[in-house]
Structure formats: structure tokens, C-alpha cells
């Protein structure tokens, strides 16, 4: 069994693709890890859809202020140059195409870049939050996810079976096994972890994968 990347390693790998000066929205949960691995020479402005630009790191415990929280409702800090604005202005930024990259989790991503990440379609309480706005609004949507579910099912699928969050919105998927770009021809593997054959990767994937000849090695250092 090939070594999968840890979630932190996936976050590290994704962070390398965020360029200096970009405006980035990190979804709630796993995507929040990405902030820890931005290369030190890059200045990134983090957006939180509740109305913040320029979020800094978590506060020390005794400095938490619950009027200064991110979309995941966790206390954050402000960097010099940050700003506050109301919800309509914040989602104007999102829908208006001003956010360079949004990082989201996913239940499924299809060959066409369709994203399903808000509902597994069963009963329970429906809840969508800002995911649909971010999915259509961000210039690029990066998905960060395990390659397979805990029960081994593929998350990169020919067609999403779960209700969609957005249609053809995903640019790139970062999994614990591979970096996969959504292209006009379909899902193209850019990198895969060392020691994993293309056929093995395909066998763990429902969607057809392209890039057999061109894909490189997915390297990510041990990160804490």
C-alpha cells in the first residue's frame, strides 16, 4: 500500500499553488489548514465571507475575541491592511469574481468539474451556507479532499450522484494521492504520489483519468 499524504501534506501541496498577492477564501474545516503552509515570501490576503479581508493567524487563547471570528466561527486575528465590511459587500466580492482562489472540501467532483459538497441527498437538515456562492464566484475553486471515502468509494466521479453545489466550477482537486486538474477534456492527473501506478490511481477513481504520460510526482514534505 502506497503512502498517502496526510491532510497537512495535502494542505502544504495546495498552498504551493497559491501565488503571491492572491485573495483567497479557505472553506471551513480541512481547507483552513492551508493557511499554515503558505511560503514565507508570499503575501496572501485571506477573505472570510462573514466580512473580513486580511485575516491573520489564530489568536493566543487569552486573546480570543468572539467579535473577530472566521466563517468557521473560530477566533482569528487581523493583519495590518485588513478591513471589515457587511455581508452583502462580502458576497459581492465573492459573486463578482474578486476572490482569486477558494478552497473547498467535497463529497464528489465530476469529470466536468461539477462540485457536490453540501448534501448527501438523504434526510436530515439541509444546510448550504456560502458554498454555492463561493463555488460560482471564485475565479478558481480548489478542492481539497481524501481521494476516497472512508468506505473506499471514489470521490472523483463521472457524474455526481449527490446534489450539486456548482456546475463545472472546480479547477483542481488536491487529494491524498494526486493533484488532478479539471480540463476541457476531463480530469487530468498533474501529479501522483511516488510508488502509485497510474492504473492503481485509476482503480481508486470512478472518473476516467487523463495524463498517464505526462504526470509528475506529488511531493510533499513531512509537515507538522
Amino acid at each position: 500500500m502506497t503512502d498517502k499524504l496526510t491532510r497537512r501534506q495535502v494542505a502544504w501541496r495546495l498552498a504551493q499553488d497559491i501565488q503571491d498577492g492572491m485573495y483567497v477564501n479557505l472553506g471551513i474545516g480541512m481547507p483552513e489548514l492551508v493557511a499554515n503552509y503558505i511560503p514565507g515570501d508570499r503575501e496572501i490576503v485571506f477573505h472570510s465571507e462573514n466580512g473580513i479581508l486580511g485575516m491573520g493567524p489564530e489568536p493566543r487563547d487569552n486573546e480570543a475575541d468572539y467579535d473577530l471570528i472566521n466563517a468557521g466561527k473560530k477566533p482569528v486575528t487581523m493583519l495590518p491592511g485588513g478591513s471589515f465590511f457587511h455581508h452583502a459587500d462580502s458576497f459581492g466580492m465573492v459573486r463578482g469574481g474578486h476572490i482569486d482562489i477558494c478552497v473547498l472540501g467535497a463529497f464528489q467532483v465530476s469529470s466536468a468539474g461539477d462540485l457536490a459538497n453540501w448534501s448527501t441527498g438523504g434526510g436530515g437538515v439541509p444546510a448550504v451556507g456560502g458554498a454555492m456562492d463561493l463555488a460560482v464566484g471564485a475565479r478558481r475553486v480548489f478542492v481539497m479532499t481524501d481521494h476516497n471515502t472512508k468506505t473506499g468509494e471514489a470521490k472523483l466521479v463521472r457524474e455526481c450522484s449527490y446534489p450539486l453545489t456548482g456546475l463545472g466550477v472546480v479547477s483542481t482537486v488536491y487529494t491524498d494521492l494526486a493533484v488532478v486538474d479539471v480540463t476541457d477534456r476531463g480530469l487530468t492527473v498533474r501529479e501522483k504520489v511516488d510508488g502509485l501506478s497510474f492504473d492503481e490511481l485509476q482503480s481508486r477513481t470512478d472518473a476516467e483519468l487523463l495524463g498517464r504520460e505526462t504526470c509528475g510526482v506529488l511531493n510533499s514534505p513531512e509537515v507538522g
Binding site: S48, E49, N50, G51, I52, D65, Y66, D67, L68, I69, K73, F84, F85, H86, H87, A88, S90, F91, G92, V94, R95, D114, V125, P126, A127, V128, G129, G130, A131, M132, D133, V136, G137, P163, L164, T165, G166, L167, G168
Partner: protein
């Protein structure tokens, strides 16, 4: 003379009537007008529609309002949370109607109501179940759905500073839904941490101009819903004073 300040929370919410649609500011712990919501429970208006990003936590604030049985319908973007048991149970029991609206669409619908916009087109929800039944428009080669404004009878808002004209500022990210909700209700009721003399808020620093505000009550030390939940507080509602 214009003086929008009122002496008590009870007086502030006395205008709310059975069947009203009530906007409630806040996102997570920040910007919740908890004291006004508790006063609304005490006031006792029934059959309310409430609009908030979430659906309450623990047994205080919005969750306590739901638990009071006075809410028939809730409009929100994300009702689920680790402490949303009041909502969860009522929803599953069919005792609460739910309209789920994407967060940005919710904000824009509220803003549209305040700005006299009779509907707008958004790409949000295209291709999703939430777009079903909505009117479409193709503009510049892209597909959009029509969304309606979301007008309300009352808005309950938490602010930082206020003056007697109703000008408001907000603290940090507690601004969230406050400025747009103030514009969209027939009667906007504000709890402010401090009421300052007219002119103390510089004209460039006013976030909500007083034109959008009807009543202001000072609540100098607002409670923390998070701390109340940690301490197991269960707001059951008092009597009208």
C-alpha cells in the same frame, strides 16, 4: 427633536406583532442581539418568521425563541451546528418550516429589499436543486436565476455605538448582517453597547445612517451566548414587566 432612544428592551420590542417577519443580526457568536431576542420572547408575539444566518445554539437567544414556540418559519443559510438541538428537534418533528437560502443570496435579498430592488439575477444555485422553479436569464452568455427581495416587518440588530438619530457603528466582524438588515425592515430596533452624544460618531465613520433605524436601546454589557451555553443557561422567558 429626533430621539430614537428608548428606555427599556421591553419598550423597544413592543412594536412586534403576531405574524411578523423578524430579521435577527449576527453570525456565530458575533453580532447577536441576544437581549432583544430575549425581550421578544417575553413580549410573546407569536407565529413569527425569523431570518438569521443560522438557527440558534444551546437554549438561549434565537434557539430560545424557537423553543418558545412563537416561531412558525425560519429562513437561514446554515441551520446545522453542534449545538442546534432545539432547531434540529423542532424541524424533525415538523414544528418549524425551513427555507434554506445560500448565504450570499440571503444577504443580497435583504439588501435588495432595503434598496427598492424588485428582484435580481444571480449565478448562485445554477445547476443545483435550489434553482428549481426559479426564473432564468442568460446575460453575457451566462445563466442566472431570479431572486426576490426579502422584506421584513422588524429587524433586531446589535451595534456598538449609537446616537439619538440612530447612527450606528459595529465592532470588528460583528458588522456582518447588521447594516443590510437595518435597511430592510419597516421597524429597525437596535441594541447598542453605548449611546453617545449626537456628533460623536464622525460622518465618515457612520456605518448605518440613522435613516434606517427606528429605536435604540443601550445594553452596556451584552451577554455572551457562548458563555451562557457553556454555563448551561436555559432562557425560558420571563413575564412582561
Amino acid at each position: 427633536m429626533i430621539d430614537k432612544t428608548v428606555a427599556s428592551l421591553h419598550e423597544a420590542v413592543s412594536v412586534v406583532r403576531d405574524g411578523d417577519c423578524v430579521l435577527i443580526s449576527g453570525f456565530g457568536e458575533s453580532g447577536n442581539p441576544t437581549e432583544l431576542v430575549h425581550a421578544l420572547i417575553d413580549h410573546g408575539a407569536r407565529d413569527l418568521t425569523v431570518v438569521n444566518n443560522n438557527a440558534g445554539n444551546g437554549n438561549v437567544g434565537l434557539a430560545a425563541l424557537l423553543e418558545s414556540g412563537n416561531v412558525a418559519r425560519i429562513v437561514c443559510s446554515f441551520p446545522r451546528s453542534t449545538a442546534s438541538h432545539v432547531f434540529d428537534e423542532m424541524y424533525k418533528a415538523g414544528r418549524l418550516e425551513l427555507e434554506v437560502v445560500p448565504q450570499g443570496t440571503l444577504a443580497e435579498r435583504i439588501r435588495a429589499a432595503g434598496a427598492g430592488i424588485g428582484g435580481f439575477y444571480s449565478r448562485t444555485t445554477i445547476g443545483t436543486p435550489l434553482a428549481e422553479g426559479k426564473q432564468r436569464r442568460v446575460y453575457n452568455g451566462e445563466e442566472f436565476v431570479l431572486e426576490d427581495p426579502l422584506h421584513a416587518d422588524v429587524a433586531l440588530i446589535k451595534a456598538e455605538l449609537a446616537d439619538r438619530w440612530g447612527n450606528l457603528t459595529y465592532r470588528l466582524a460583528a458588522r456582518n448582517f447588521g447594516p443590510i438588515m437595518c435597511t430592510a425592515a419597516t421597524t429597525t430596533i437596535v441594541q447598542a453597547r453605548k449611546i453617545v452624544p449626537l456628533g460623536d460618531i464622525p460622518p465618515e465613520a457612520v456605518v448605518t445612517p440613522g435613516i434606517f433605524v427606528d429605536r435604540v436601546v443601550e445594553v452596556p454589557n451584552p451577554v455572551s451566548e457562548r458563555e451562557m451555553i457553556e454555563n448551561g443557561v436555559h432562557y425560558l422567558g420571563g413575564r412582561k414587566p
